[in-house]
Amino acid sequence: MVKSLIRETRFLAKDRGALFWLFLAFALSVIAVSFGILEVREQRQTIATLIEEDTADRINALQGQEDWGSAAYYAFHLTYSAPSDFAFAAMGQRDSSPWKHRVRMLALEGQIHEADTRNADFGLVGRFDFAFLAASVAPLLLILLLYDLRASERTTRRHDLLVATAGSSGSLWFPRAFVRVVGLALLLLIPLWIGAVVEGTAIALTLQASGIVVGSLLVWWLIVEMVSRINASASVLLTSLIGLWLALAIVVPAVSKAAIEAANPVPDGGEILLLQRETVNDAWDLPKEATMKPFVERHPELKPYEDIPDAWAWKWYYAFQQVGDQVTEPLVQQYRDARLARDSQATTAALFSPTSLVERAFEKLAETDATSMIVYEDNVREYHAELRAFYYPLMFPDEPYDSALLDDLPVYAPES
């Protein structure tokens, strides 16, 4: 076995066609990984700058404020989701979903759907990241490497002779294909490993990612192997394999996506905003009890301060901001549930498409999948709730304004 592997490696070293595909795989992997690292660094840099400028801006905004209400009105707070140490391999949803916000204590629904995303062309075309390379391009390269192992020998009329002299056909074709698959896997993975070392990715995570790549290559190898047993010319084999790739990489995902989205309609996001706006604006004209009643139901501890005698008061203002959020909760929940349902069904559907499966698995490892983006949104919601929990006990009992207390303002600390 070892002998035949060495022999096949020697053959491979002289096969210029195969070497070209292998070199291409390596070059593409280097490109994908280095652009990924570049982008992740830039995002981290952006976040670092934002944290600094956000703090400066808040200090500035809080200067000279004389009551809790104005302090909460003028102070914005940065929330963000930093790219994980594996995000360089799969940018996933980070190009089309927002990963940074600046929120304040007004109704959250008016703020959290702001999308500070990149150039829309990026989200439309997509990046050339490692996940795309491993999921979509690598199978094509594998097909190009393996499709004519048998057929080329048939063309040169050595096929039958080789099979007859080799004893078993397995000991002939297996080492030949094995050397190519291993070569392709290594050349794809080496840049990824270097990238992982540079980025400090956990070894277990890198191993999982490598396992996914190897596993997907094995699946495609199996597919190629089955197809090339057909006694047909190399070009017919290649055509059929490309057809299979198209079916698995494009048609199956597109059909499942269309079916999943039709089966799980999301509520029109505009409805959330509209409802929130109407509630907040109507509150101005309603008797104050109409706002304070649902508000203290949520905050029983503030019941003693339920009566607002003044025509206008910050506490009433923030109460109706919160009631605006409360009213939209069912819609928001529906929107969130539908997104999660779509995502979990996509997980099932991906089982029928190796390319979707690989891409989703990478996004999961890199924390750039839909679930991670929802987790980020949940973090923002939680932080916003902390802000309210900070201000309410000061604002409602009319505690005297003390700017020193603002040093204890909650700081957004993403759980990583």
Partner: protein, 478 residues
């Protein structure tokens, strides 16, 4: 029957006998038909929905009761962007950008609720549109059909006979080209149908025709590349492999690589980042809610002098309205300068992306296609500009009402009692200041102008690929 048509017909006869070719062509045809019908339905739904929402938003605004005018500034309004007629073929960036925007005083919001945010994520190619099928799949079909069309004659030994009969390599190539172009022409039928449909929906014939012509040119480029490969290369498998590589490179690798490159070369700061810089400047301008802010002292002196009075109470107009109007104008100028800078950077990113068309015709056709369809990023930017214009218009009109229609003393005492607050309102007729907003695509000429660079690059590709066929066909020897 001339030799050329005979060659072409012979090619077709062979294709029709091949099960692989028939199956491939049928699958592609079914995919195109199904995707077109689905996209058409979806876009038609969205279009009527958005227009209804726009009208509803306006009616809700008009139907608001008597209020303090500044309350209406914060009540705000919505702008919707209905998809243009040709979006049924190429929905473009619409799915990524979100198609509605909330307009209110003192703020420029982003377009929210992009479809992609809630989409089922199944990887890179899952969002199939008729345009992406034309860009990705039809070239593959041409490759499958044509990779051996010339070298087949060589393999079977008929090339020698044909040449001996006095057929030149070029005539032979022209015959094959006619056969392949006929395939391209047949697959243009669905696009022509979509174009005709869009014209019936009010699209200009010029853009619809340019779109058809652009895609036909794109398919011709691929047909020429396929033919050239089948002339130059001597083995089927090699020719097929080489063409698949070209496809992989042009359709999958270069476009994404171009995105990486343009995002790395031109750094466009996000809105939050530029907003932070701006907020610091804004603070210098003063807060429009607080008329006693020192930044307004100079304005106050000027206005008092203009009306020749000593105190703001004596002014015949409402000082708070003056302040609101003044600071909105100042702030908007600032917001716009930052927004323009951001959009400018994004536009140069997209221009750089378009230049990668020199390395892949797929980039050129997709850029031209989005532009002609009116679903490119430039159209989105115009939507942002126009909705901003709408925003500024109604906010300032309301501020004007605040200045003229509401008494200053009544206004500052509005929080003293519920009765006082009821008095500090103006008649709801004033809400009629809101302009009607109907977003329409750019004019045909404008879109064509913008697509010109991509279309020119495409023509360059066509000349180069045609030249390659001619050059290699001329040198055909046994």
């Amino acid at each position: 029957m001339s030799g050329i048509t005979r060659i072409a017909i012979e090619e077709w006869r062979l294709w029709l006998r091949s099960r692989v070719v028939i199956a491939a062509a049928l699958i592609v045809a079914v995919l195109i038909a199904a995707t077109t019908v689905l996209t058409m339905n979806r876009i038609a739904d969205e279009q009527s929905q958005r227009i209804e929402q726009q009208v509803a938003a306006e009616q809700t605004f008009f139907a608001q009761p008597d209020r303090h005018p500044h309350r209406m500034v914060h009540y705000g309004h919505y702008a919707f962007r209905p998809p243009p007629a040709l979006a049924v073929f190429d929905p473009g960036v619409d799915a990524v950008t979100g198609q509605s925007i909330f307009l209110e005083g003192h703020r420029q919001n982003t377009a929210m609720f992009a479809d992609t945010k809630a989409a089922a994520d199944l990887g890179g190619f899952a969002a199939l549109t008729p345009a992406s099928l034309y860009q990705l799949l039809l070239p593959l079909l041409l490759i499958v059909l044509g990779h051996a069309m010339f070298l087949r004659e060589r393999e079977s030994g008929t090339l020698a006979v044909l040449l001996a009969q006095g057929q030149s390599g070029v005539r032979l190539a022209v015959g094959k080209a006619v056969a392949l172009l006929a395939v391209c022409a047949i697959f243009m039928v669905p696009l022509i149908a979509v174009a005709a449909y869009s014209i019936s929906m009010g699209e200009s014939a010029l853009t619809a025709f340019s779109l058809v012509a652009g895609y036909f040119a794109y398919l011709c480029i691929w047909a020429a590349l396929v033919l050239a490969a089948s002339i130059i290369l001597k083995q089927r498998a090699v020719s097929l492999g080489a063409l698949i590589f070209v496809w992989l490179f042009a359709a999958l690798i270069v476009p994404r690589f171009a995105i990486n490159a343009s995002s790395a070369v031109i750094d466009a700061p996000g809105k939050i980042e530029s907003d932070l810089v701006m907020l610091a400047e804004q603070r210098k301008l003063g807060d429009g809610h607080n008329a006693a802010d020192p930044a307004f002292m100079q304005l106050q002196a000027e206005v008092l002098e203009q009306y020749n009075v000593e105190t703001i109470e004596e002014l015949p107009i409402n000082w708070r309205g003056v302040v609101a109007s003044y600071s909105e104008a100042e702030l908007t100028e600032l917001l716009n300068s930052y927004a323009e800078e951001r959009m400018g950077l994004e536009a140069s990113q997209s221009r750089l992306f378009g230049l990668f068309g020199l390395a892949s015709p797929t980039i050129s056709i997709s850029a031209a296609s989005r532009t002609l369809a009116g679903t490119d990023i430039a159209t989105h930017h115009r939507f942002l500009r126009e909705s901003e214009y709408l925003r500024f218009g109604f906010v300032q009109a309301l501020n004007e009402k605040h200045v003229t229609d509401l008494d200053y003393t009544v206004d500052i005492n509005r929080n003293t009692s519920p009765e006082a607050s009821r008095r500090a309102r103006i008649n709801a007729d004033a809400w009629e200041v809101l302009d009607e907003f109907r977003f329409v695509p750019d004019s045909a000429n404008e879109r064509l102008n913008r697509a010109l660079l991509s279309l020119t690059i495409l023509m360059g590709w066509m000349l180069a690929a045609g030249g390659l066929v001619y050059y290699s066909a001329k040198r055909v020897r046994l």
